[in-house]
Symmetry: C2
Subunit: 306 residues, 2 copies
C-alpha cells in the first residue's frame, strides 16, 4: 500500500448554471482515490458508508485498484449526503442540504493491509478523526498530508491545531490560511503556519493557482485558464489526491518533488471541473493527462535576457 486516504465517501447532488444532477458519487476520499488510480498508485480508503451505498460504486473504485477494506458499511445507516447550488460565477455556492448520517459515528479503524502506507492523506474531515487515524498508525508514515477547511477552524480549532502540529504538509485555501494565521499577507501566513508544525504549506487560490512554501522558498503555479468551469465540486480533493499520489509514487519528499506533485495535482483538478462530479476523472486517459501537464509547461515557461 502506497497511499492511505482518510475521508468521506458520499453522495452529492449538484446544481450549476449548466444543469443539475441527482444523487451521484462524491466524497473527498472518492476523488482522491480516483486521482491516485490515474497516477497508477495503489491507494486504500478508510471511511464509512450506509447500507444505501450502491454496489456499482464499490465496483467502480475496486476496478480502479482502490482497496476498500477500510470502508465500514453501516447496514441500517445512510451515507453522508451533500447538496449544493453554485452561483453564476462558479466561485461561490450555497449548501442546500448536509446530512451527516453515518459519518457522525465514524470511528476509523485501519485494516492491517493498510498499516504500512508510506503516505497518509488526511482528507477534509473532522480533525479529531484525522488525529485519531494518525495516532493509530502502528508506525508513522513517511509523509503525512492534511487537507482541511474553514468549517473546522470555526468549530474545532483546538483539535485542528493538535492535528496540524503532527503533519508534514498542509493544504488550505487563501482565506483559510489568513483565518488560521491571523495574517493577511500569504507570505506571513505561511511563516506562522510553518511554526505550527508543517514543513510544507500549500495555499490554494482557486482560479488563481496555488503557492507552495518551504524553508523560506516559494513556488507558484497558475491554474489552467479554462473557458468554462462546469462544476468545481471535488477539485480541491482531486488536487490533494494527485499531489499525494505523485509523492507516493516517487518516494521522494524534497522541495523539487513537491513542486512536480503540485503540477500533477493541478493538472488532474483541471479535468475534474470540466464535467459533473467524478465523471471526467472516470474517463481521462494517460495521454490526456500527459497532454495537460505539457500544457502547464507551455503556460508557464519563459526565457528572459535583459
Amino acid at each position: 500500500m502506497k497511499l492511505l486516504v482518510v475521508g468521506s465517501v458520499a453522495f452529492d447532488a449538484i446544481e450549476t448554471p449548466f444543469g443539475k444532477t441527482d444523487k451521484i458519487l462524491g466524497g473527498a476520499a472518492t476523488y482522491i482515490s480516483l486521482a491516485a488510480s490515474l497516477m497508477n498508485v495503489k491507494s486504500g480508503i478508510v471511511s464509512i458508508v450506509g447500507g444505501d451505498f450502491p454496489q456499482e460504486y464499490f465496483d467502480l473504485l475496486t476496478s480502479r485498484n482502490v482497496n476498500l477494506d477500510g470502508v465500514e458499511i453501516v447496514k441500517e445507516g445512510k451515507t453522508f449526503f451533500w447538496s449544493g447550488k453554485y452561483h453564476n460565477d462558479l466561485n461561490s455556492r450555497d449548501t442546500l442540504v448536509t446530512e451527516v448520517n453515518v459519518l457522525e459515528q465514524f470511528n476509523p479503524v485501519i485494516p492491517e493491509s493498510m498499516q504500512d502506507a508510506e503516505v497518509l492523506l488526511l482528507g477534509n474531515l473532522h480533525p479529531g478523526v484525522q488525529l485519531s487515524v494518525l495516532e493509530n498508525m502502528p508506525q508513522r508514515p513517511k509523509l503525512v498530508i492534511l487537507d482541511t477547511m474553514n468549517f473546522w477552524m470555526d468549530t474545532a480549532m483546538d483539535v485542528l491545531k493538535l492535528t496540524i502540529a503532527k503533519t508534514d504538509v498542509i493544504s488550505i485555501n487563501d482565506e483559510e490560511a489568513r483565518q488560521l494565521s491571523g495574517e493577511y499577507s500569504l507570505v506571513k501566513a505561511a511563516k506562522k503556519i510553518h511554526e505550527m508544525g508543517p514543513e510544507y504549506v500549500i495555499i490554494k487560490k482557486g482560479e488563481h493557482g496555488a503557492l507552495l512554501f518551504h524553508d523560506g522558498k516559494v513556488f507558484a503555479i497558475p491554474a489552467m485558464p479554462l473557458e468554462e468551469v462546469f462544476d468545481p465540486t471535488g477539485a480541491g480533493d482531486t488536487f490533494a489526491g494527485g499531489f499525494a499520489s505523485y509523492l507516493a509514487k516517487k518516494q521522494k519528499f524534497d522541495f523539487d518533488t513537491m513542486k512536480s506533485a503540485l503540477i500533477a495535482g493541478s493538472a488532474l483538478a483541471s479535468f475534474t471541473v470540466e464535467k459533473f462530479g467524478t465523471e471526467r476523472l472516470q474517463e481521462i486517459s494517460e495521454a490526456e493527462l500527459a497532454g495537460r501537464i505539457q500544457e502547464f509547461k507551455e503556460l508557464t515557461t519563459f526565457e528572459v535576457e535583459i
Copy 2:
C-alpha cells in the same frame, strides 16, 4: 528614440497603513520612463505639466535618459494632482483628491525627435488623447501598446473602442476585461477583446499575476509573493513600462518575446510596491533587477515525469 510614452506626469500624495507622503513625483509616464531607463532603453514623454512642476523632477528624468521635448509646460497652470488612501489590505483605495488641472487642456504634440519611435505606449489617459497621438504619428510605430482603466470604460467607451481597434497590445485588469467584454470567463473575455482589434491581450490580476493571450495560446505568470506591499501606486504603470521597454530593446514582437517582456515588467513592478511612489525605482541596480528575474525563474520552474 526607441519608446514613445504618452501619459501623465503628476503629483501624488499617498497614504497607506505604513505611512503617508506629501506631494511627490507621480504620473503614468513617469513610472513608465523610469522603468525604461532601468532597461537601458531611451524613451521620450509626451505630456503636460504646470508651472509648479519642480526643476529637480525634470533633472531626475533627464538624468535617466528620458527625452522631455514633448512635455508642455503651462507656466500659469497647475500640474495634475492625485491623492489617495489605501485600505488595510492594500488591494483597494479611496481617492481623496483629483485635480485634473492642466491635463484638461492637453492637446498632445509629438516633437520631431520622437516621430520615429518604434514602440508607442499609450499610457492610461483619456482615450481621445491616446487616439489623437496615434493618428498624429507621421508613420505608424511598429508596435502600439494601450494601457487603460475602468474609468474610461464608464465615461468614454465609444472613443476607447476606436482606440483599442488601432492597437496591437492592450493591458487591463481582470475586472476591466470583464467590463469591456461582458464575459466573466477571462478566456472568453480575451477572445472578445481580440475581436475588437488587439492581437495581444494582457489581463493583470494584481497579487495573482497576469495572463497573456495570443492566437489561441495563453501564458500565465504569478506575482512575486511579497511579505508586505508597502505602496501599490504606479505598479501597473511600471509593469507596462518594463513590458514595452523589453520589446523596444529586443525589436521583436512575437509571442515568446512578449512572454519575456511580461516577466521584465512584473519584476520591475515588484520593486515599485516596496517603497512609496518612485522611490524604489530610483535606487535599484542592474544586479538587483537580474536577481529578481532569477527569482521569477525559481518561482515558476518545475520538472514533472508521471
